[in-house]
């Protein structure tokens, strides 16, 4: 009696005009916007509300390495969207290639961040190093946590791609996880600018 579940029927009542999985991901991303608002907003408030001078980021942080890392993350967004395009056109070989590249680029980003953290901590710059340390580690730490979750999810998707779960033009899962991935990249674009470059 549940054969109706496989019936790709037209929507019952028109919602926002996107399929449910994608809508769910966007709703989730709205909450993530607010979560990062709390962290980034607090940074803005503490920095521009404090009467004391803020340390110059370039003096503590490694801008060239992080700039390269930013480029890596942007590349991973490109590979993600190429994976999506491949899935749409049922190019399974392309899908697998681009997904693997995305996982590798994402993992590199996390790796470089981890390297940056150890280096900074060795230098004596820790979360308790004033407001700069507090805000820097909290914002980038939670961003890195989100990227890590993304890498794990992407690896799982890659495994499913190899199992043929996206064959035949079934691109919804890829598009949905892709949205999360692009969001994480988007947050980094903002973070990199306002934390490292000011």
């Amino acid at each position: 009696m549940s054969h109706a579940a496989t019936h790709p029927a037209a929507p019952a009542e028109e919602g926002l005009g996107v399929y449910t999985q994608k809508l769910g991901m966007w709703v989730f991303l709205c909450s993530e916007i607010m979560f990062f608002t709390a962290l980034i907003g607090s940074y803005i408030i503490l920095r521009w509300g404090s009467s004391e001078s803020w340390p110059v980021p370039q003096q503590t942080l490694n801008i060239p390495v992080t700039a390269f890392n930013t480029f890596v993350l942007i590349c991973s967004s490109v590979s993600m969207v190429k994976a999506y395009a491949a899935a749409v056109h049922d190019d399974q070989a392309g899908l697998k290639r681009w997904l693997i590249l995305t996982v590798l680029l994402g993992a590199s980003f996390v790796g470089v961040q981890a390297y940056e953290y150890t280096h900074l901590i060795e230098k004596g710059f820790t979360p308790s190093s004033g407001l700069f340390g507090s805000t820097f580690y909290t914002m980038t730490g939670f961003h890195g946590f989100h990227v890590s979750c993304g890498v794990i999810s992407m690896a799982w998707c890659t495994m499913r791609a190899f199992q043929g779960k996206y064959a035949g033009g079934k691109f919804h899962g890829i598009e949905t996880i892709g949205l999360y991935w692009h969001f994480v990249d988007l947050v980094w674009i903002i973070l990199f600018t306002i934390v490292y470059l000011f």
Binding site: M1, A10, A12, G15
Partner: protein
Amino acid sequence: MTTAGVAAGEVGHAHHDDRPFIRKYVFSTDHKIIGIQFLFLSLFFLLVGGVLAMLIRWQLGFPGRAMPLPGLWPRAMAPDGVVLPEFYTALVTMHGTFMVFFAIMPLLVGVFANYLIPLKIGAPDMAFPKLNMWSFWLMIPAGGLMLAGFFVEGGTAASGWTAYAPLSANPEYTGATYGQQLWCFSIIVFALSSLLGSVNYITTIINLRAPGMTWFRLPLSIWALFITAILALLAVPILAGAIIMLLFDIILHTHFFMPAGGGQPLMWQHLFWFFGHPEVYILILPAMGITSDLLANGSRKPIFGYHSMVYAIIGIAFLGWVVWGHHMFQSGMNPRLGTTFMVSTMFIAVPSAIKVFNWLGTMWKGSITFTTPMLNAIAFVAMFTIGGLSGIFMAATPVDMYIHDTYFIVAHIHYVLFGGSLFAIFGGIYFWFPSMFGKMMNEKLGKIHFALTFITYNLVFFPMHILGIGGHMRRIYDPSQYAFLKPLQPLNTFISVSAFALFVSQLPFMWNFFHSLFWGKKAEMNPWHDNGLEWTVQSPPPHGNFAVTPTVYHGPYEYSRPDMEADFLPQNQPLPASAHAAAH
């Protein structure tokens, strides 16, 4: 499930569920089971919160007196049965925390959103059933972490449910060595649970409505739950962020809220209340929605002003984002900001008032039957009005200067949360119990529970307005240390005795609930003659809800139509032939 809904008249998803017991009733993905799981869990936490309140009232009513069974109380809490001041601050903290996060929110949202949304919109289940299951099961570690505070060295968090920094940011200030961290972790896990729920409710209502269930045919309970889910989606992450920063201040020695390191304690208050104000609308909007459905049903009349009710819900939610500073009038914040908040807070009274008048308009000249759900719904309107009126006092900053952090505020909170939310919750439980369990609750016991609760509840909380105007402050262990409060002690004792009576008055409900589960009268089909889709299937509904996907022909409040003999018309039945021109 990636597609939206099923086309009209198509074979639905209802089917016999022959999965093993553990998948069917324990790790279930069925929204109805999950709603019922939330019901049991949150009623348990309501009891916990109530017990904590009794301990608070003992100390306030009989200061310094030993409680019964003096030897049995842990020495760190109440040596020889006398509540310690440090334990008292832990009590008020935990009472607020359990009631807000583990009782009222899960009761209104976890229970009614989960149970009602798919049924009332004609969907087979939520959009993401597995995430829904996680939403419930995350509440277990969240609750466990919160309860764990009672068993660790230093006791639970003791900085109020509002956890103001820097009191909360340094364990040495309250003596709670681990309690505040446990509190933080617990709320973070709770926030995840809430998030998964919100994503589900919003997506389901947008995408899975049955054919014909247009936005303005949704029952008001669903509108309210939808807007509440949006508030929760956007507000809870702010709380999570703030709590993470607080946790880092404690364990990583960051300096977000600690002045010594350049931090800003006032920023905690702003962040917390930016969440906190939408939070209180989360705590009341579903209750308003439930009340609307119950009042229309109990008056056998359409809701008065359905469209304005919807716009009022949206208006309350909108304005609710820009009033948070009214919790901070006394914090030393920028006075110009204070004025802004005063004005916006006064504005927000308007949509709430519109709703109250519309409820009255609904009941006016209705054929009212005073069933237990109806009694609770009517009590909601009256008690919420009182709570709302005291809110107007607070909105005026000059008045708030005097009554802030007094029992006037405590009275207000409890009039809206107990007089409002809890009565609506009781009404909702009595009303939808037959749908959930296929049995009726005992009507006589229900009326006894209502009468006793209503009377004792008012005896507890109304006098608190007087205490507050008299200057009696909140969270105070021993009011008699102030000469000006000594004359008010008899009132405190009176409130405490009434509070014990209020607690005991819940026994008929507990008995009724559990007894009816097993031995209640079997519910007939649609016992309340209601128009909701949940009553068009057997009670309890089968897994997958509808054997045939319903088509919706009209709004949910077609009661007592003059061109019909029956005084109700379920949403999946077409209007009488004569009425097609009027259909919307």
